[in-house]
């Protein structure tokens, strides 16, 4: 059932990788895996948007696979017209040092353990965890089981504890997969979760291999996939790891776009940021931050670049607008929260201290590590020192994005109409996991690479050293 479920997403993945290759002309050998891993989110994200629009405007629920095939076919034609079908990446120019092989093996072992963990978790909890029953898989069930009357899945008669206003990237792909297989196969949401987890690790690895070194990429993946909460939240089949993926992918693309000033990279960055908004409401603030950051960065480099960023956001944001218009649901953060109430909460110092108290506790056990990963990484960073690279200037923008999204979360806690301590207790670990991969990428961009540490001074030269 795992392979059968995977088959419902493979075309979307291939189409997404094609979109990445079409928009980003780089033939650097490490851009190939990066495009492939970016393809997971691009493919599943675009398919989810188009499948939702198809449900809104046409009767029936079939055609999920056809949509994927359609996107794939169009991308193939566009690549053919641009004479870019031959994947002429100089992969033979990649050299593997002893260090990169050692850390690569460690990363492969961790990857195998993570895969085994995901497969076992999919058997132990095939329906995911509480939030999957209450929100993500529940929405997919409603839509799939209602057939032509799927819009009743958003009836105001449904208890608002089930958060009918949450965006639909994850449930749409599950519904599409079930319609393709003609059955509610529990492995479909599990496979989607595994794809996003693999994509998260893949984007992390190939970005660092592209701009730093293979060893640094392998080290980052080793830490990422060992993080207990990353694996747990993935097995929960919620939208948290897909959101982490889109945050990371969009940040990476912005980072690369600043360095290479590529309109294509900015288009992909906008698309990923927009897809984060189609994944969870938290993605809305991220998309806004990405748009504002892009404006600051590119207003001097011509409007074409900035227009590319906004153009990338168009499909997911349009889909989100259709969703919010056609199927209006009450947002529980805004309902019953008037301007006066918000101002009162913003001036309540007790709320700030409560949030800081929980933040301190959560940061101490960030990611579910047995010992504080922040202390471990701080010690590691102090010993290793910082990396000196021409790309360090762009890192400031990544720091800004992480901080800005963190401040957005802080503001949401300040004004939440829900009981603050309850909300902090049940959501802060998840919100920090949204930011963790971006912060980890930043860390491994800044810290010195391990290359050369285990070799004689005459070791083989490395790419991007």
């Amino acid at each position: 059932m795992i392979l059968e479920s995977l088959s419902t997403f493979v075309l979307a993945w291939a189409a997404g990788a094609g979109v990445a290759h079409l928009a980003w002309r780089s033939l650097n050998p490490w851009s190939l895996p990066l495009k492939i891993f970016l393809g997971i989110g691009l493919g599943l994200g675009m398919t989810s948007c188009l499948y939702f629009l198809r449900l809104v405007f046409f009767p029936g629920q079939d055609g999920y696979l056809l949509l994927q095939g359609g996107i794939f076919f169009i991308i193939l034609i566009l690549l053919y017209l641009q004479k870019r079908l031959s994947l002429d990446f100089p992969v033979r120019s990649i050299s593997f040092s002893k260090t990169s092989i050692l850390f690569g093996l460690a990363a492969i072992v961790i990857l195998a353990l993570a895969l085994q963990n995901s497969l076992v978790s999919a058997r132990i909890a095939p329906h995911g965890d509480y939030d999957a029953h209450a929100i993500w898989n529940l929405r997919a069930r409603f839509i799939y089981r209602l057939g032509d009357e799927w819009q009743k899945a958003f009836s105001p008669a449904i208890n608002r504890d089930f958060h009918m206003d949450y965006p639909l990237l994850v449930p749409m792909n599950v519904t599409g997969g079930w319609n393709t297989l003609n059955e509610e196969v529990t492995r479909v949401p599990a496979v989607q979760a595994m794809l996003f987890l693999g994509g998260l690790a893949g984007v992390m690895f190939s970005t660092l291999a592209y701009v730093r070194s293979i060893g640094q990429g392998a080290l980052a993946v080793t830490v990422l996939l060992a993080t207990p909460y990353i694996l747990q939240f993935s097995s929960f089949q919620t939208a948290d790891i897909p959101l982490s993926y889109f945050f990371l992918a969009s940040a990476v693309l912005l980072f690369l776009a600043v360095y290479e000033t590529s309109a294509g990279l900015l288009f992909l960055c906008g698309l990923m940021a927009g897809l984060s908004a189609w994944t969870k409401n938290e993605g809305l603030s991220y998309a806004l931050i990405a748009a504002v950051t892009g404006l600051f960065l590119f207003y001097k480099r011509g409007w074409r670049n900035y227009a590319s960023l906004l153009g990338g956001m168009a499909l997911p944001i349009l889909t989100l607008l259709v969703f919010k218009t056609v199927l209006p649901g009450r947002n529980d953060l805004l309902a019953g929260n008037g301007l006066f109430e918000i101002l009162r909460k913003l001036s309540d110092t007790d709320r700030y201290s409560t949030i800081f108290h929980y933040l301190r506790s959560e940061l101490a056990v960030l990611g579910g590590w047995p010992s504080s990963i922040l202390v471990i990484l701080a010690a590691y960073g102090l010993i290793m020192g910082t990396n000196r690279s021409a790309r360090n200037g762009q890192i400031m923008w990544l720091i800004w994005i992480v901080v800005a999204q963190f401040l957005a979360y802080f503001a949401i806690y300040l004004i939440t109409p829900n009981e603050l301590e309850w909300q902090l207790m049940y959501s802060m670990s998840r919100l920090l996991i949204h930011l963790f991969p971006m912060a980890l990428l930043l860390f491994f961009l800044v810290v010195r690479t391990p290359d050369g540490l285990f070799e004689s001074p005459t070791g083989a030269p490395r790419l991007n050293s």
């Binding site: 132990i124 209450a134 898989n137 529940l138 009743k152 060992a226």
Partner: protein
């Protein structure tokens, strides 16, 4: 005598090996604890499938045109003892199992799913509903039909 550069190199080697070693240990522990929770002899023994089996008789007893049902549980009965986390999880699982039939907390609907663990709920039902029929479906699950609005 080890030079400062060599000492720093060794320290860095130790840091890298330590980070990789710790990650491998934690990753192994993650997977081991997942494996320990898995019983291949009972593949469907998860709380959701078990709850769906409990709720299935409700679906079988409901008329086909019902799209909205009520839901009451121990948490509705004044002064009753219950675990709020379990009660909430059971309500969510009931909605998950019943979809696309909507499950609304309360006694307002004609058909009501009742989930009572403790005895003594009949008195509360008698006070709250003018007339009704109740059918026990096992495991503390009942299906109530209001006989008057």
């Amino acid at each position: 005598m080890v030079s400062r550069t060599q000492l720093l190199k060794r320290l860095r080697q130790a840091a890298v090996v330590g980070l990789v070693g710790l990650s491998l240990f934690v990753a192994y522990r993650n997977t081991s604890s997942a494996m320990a929770a898995w019983n291949p002899e009972q593949p469907d023994n998860n709380p959701v499938d078990r709850w769906e089996k409990r709720i299935q008789p409700v679906r079988n007893h409901l008329p086909e045109d019902v799209t909205l049902v009520g839901y009451v549980a121990d948490w509705d009965i004044p002064d009753s003892e219950y675990n709020p986390i379990d009660q909430d999880a059971e309500y969510v699982l009931t909605q998950y199992a019943m979809a696309p039939i909507m499950v609304q907390p309360g006694l307002e609907q004609e058909w009501i799913i009742a989930n009572f663990l403790h005895p003594g709920f009949e008195a509360w039902l008698d006070q709250s509903l003018p007339s009704y029929e109740i059918k026990s479906l096992g495991f503390g699950i009942y299906l109530i039909q209001r006989m008057s609005p």
